[in-house]
Amino acid sequence: MTRLIPAVAAMTIVTVLTRAAPFLFFSRREPPAAVDYLQAYLPPALMTILVLSAFKDVAWAEFPHGIPAIAGATATALVHLAKRNVLLSIACGTAAFIALTRLLA
């Protein structure tokens, strides 16, 4: 409790600050060109980082050699290519991951 409330407060403050930052900085002046440029190209870079870093704790050398994670991500991507339905893609990928984790345990 004494640890949880300050943690929630810290997460709240930091999240609000990130969301408010552009409103605080650029409400009266135009953002510099470098910010506009990063605004366009940072999202693809960040998503690449988030996907790749999701595999950072996989124990590749041990059985099942990261197969559930790779298969789960591949299933997500394939279902998304076929149907382009965000929830369906996530549900299928997660189900594949959970099923393989248990089957290969």
Binding site: L38, Y41, F97
Partner: protein, 242 residues
């Protein structure tokens, strides 16, 4: 009479917001439910899930925060990683500066509730004609938070009553990132940002290992992207939402 039609227009804005937000309803209730289950499964008290939904209102950052709390992480570490996880919001907010102009007393809440999904709808779906756009944005944001809150609460309550084996459910966040990456690939068809980020992850994992991987890779990627500016910029705001 005038009051009547104003109320009618407001009602129309709310019902349009409800319709526009149905995908978010489905997503937030199910991911929120998974969050509640995971949080209780990590041994954290159930009330933390709805409390986070009310005050933090962030998907990936809440999952990460619950994991860090369960692992006994410090306050500074939690704050830094939240900054890292939600740093992308600093970029998103730029494109709704104009849309949220003149929101008055509702503006702080609109900014507070600017999640990825709310941002996505605000920048792609037009408010109903004749209504106050701020009514639409405000209703959309509040409904989205309501779905998220209910999902988190239900997951925590049910996870507490019925002990679920939730291991593996956290993969939903990885899957979400895979989907978002594919949407990025669809809209930004240049190889450089993806390759720069992949190189940044490779360098960061060799240099610092798994613990600060995302932080170091993000900083490196910013540096790489700025270095590539000459090469990428003539393509002209490929992903600019404005």
């Amino acid at each position: 009479m005038k009051e009547q039609s104003r109320r009618g227009r407001r009602r129309e804005a709310v019902s349009s917001a409800f319709k526009a937000g149905v995908p978010v309803l489905l997503g937030y209730t199910s991911i929120g439910f998974a969050f509640g289950l995971v949080l209780v499964g990590l041994g954290l008290p159930w009330w933390l899930a709805p409390t986070m939904a009310l005050f933090v209102f962030a998907g990936a950052a809440q999952f990460m925060g619950a994991g860090l709390l369960a692992a006994g992480a410090g306050l500074g570490e939690i704050a830094l990683l939240t900054l890292l996880m939600n740093g992308r919001h600093m970029v998103y907010g730029l494109s709704v500066l104009d849309a949220y102009k003149g929101a008055g007393w509702r503006k702080p809440y609109l900014i507070f509730g600017l999640t990825d999904e709310t941002y996505g709808i605000v920048t792609t779906i037009a408010p109903p004609p004749g209504s106050d756009p701020i009514d639409f944005y405000f209703a959309l944001t509040a409904l989205n938070q309501l779905w998220w809150f209910l999902g988190c609460l239900a997951g925590a309550a049910i996870g507490r009553a019925v002990p679920f084996d939730t291991s593996g459910l956290e993969f939903a966040m990885t899957a979400l990132f895979v989907v978002l990456l594919m949407e990025q690939l669809r809209s930004i068809r240049r190889a450089e940002p993806y390759l720069a980020a992949a190189a940044a992850v490779a360098i960061a994992s060799i240099a610092v290992g798994p613990d600060n991987l995302i932080l170091v890779a993000t900083i490196l990627s910013c540096a790489f992207l700025l270095a590539l500016r000459r090469r990428l910029e003539p393509a002209g705001g490929a992903g600019s939402a404005r």
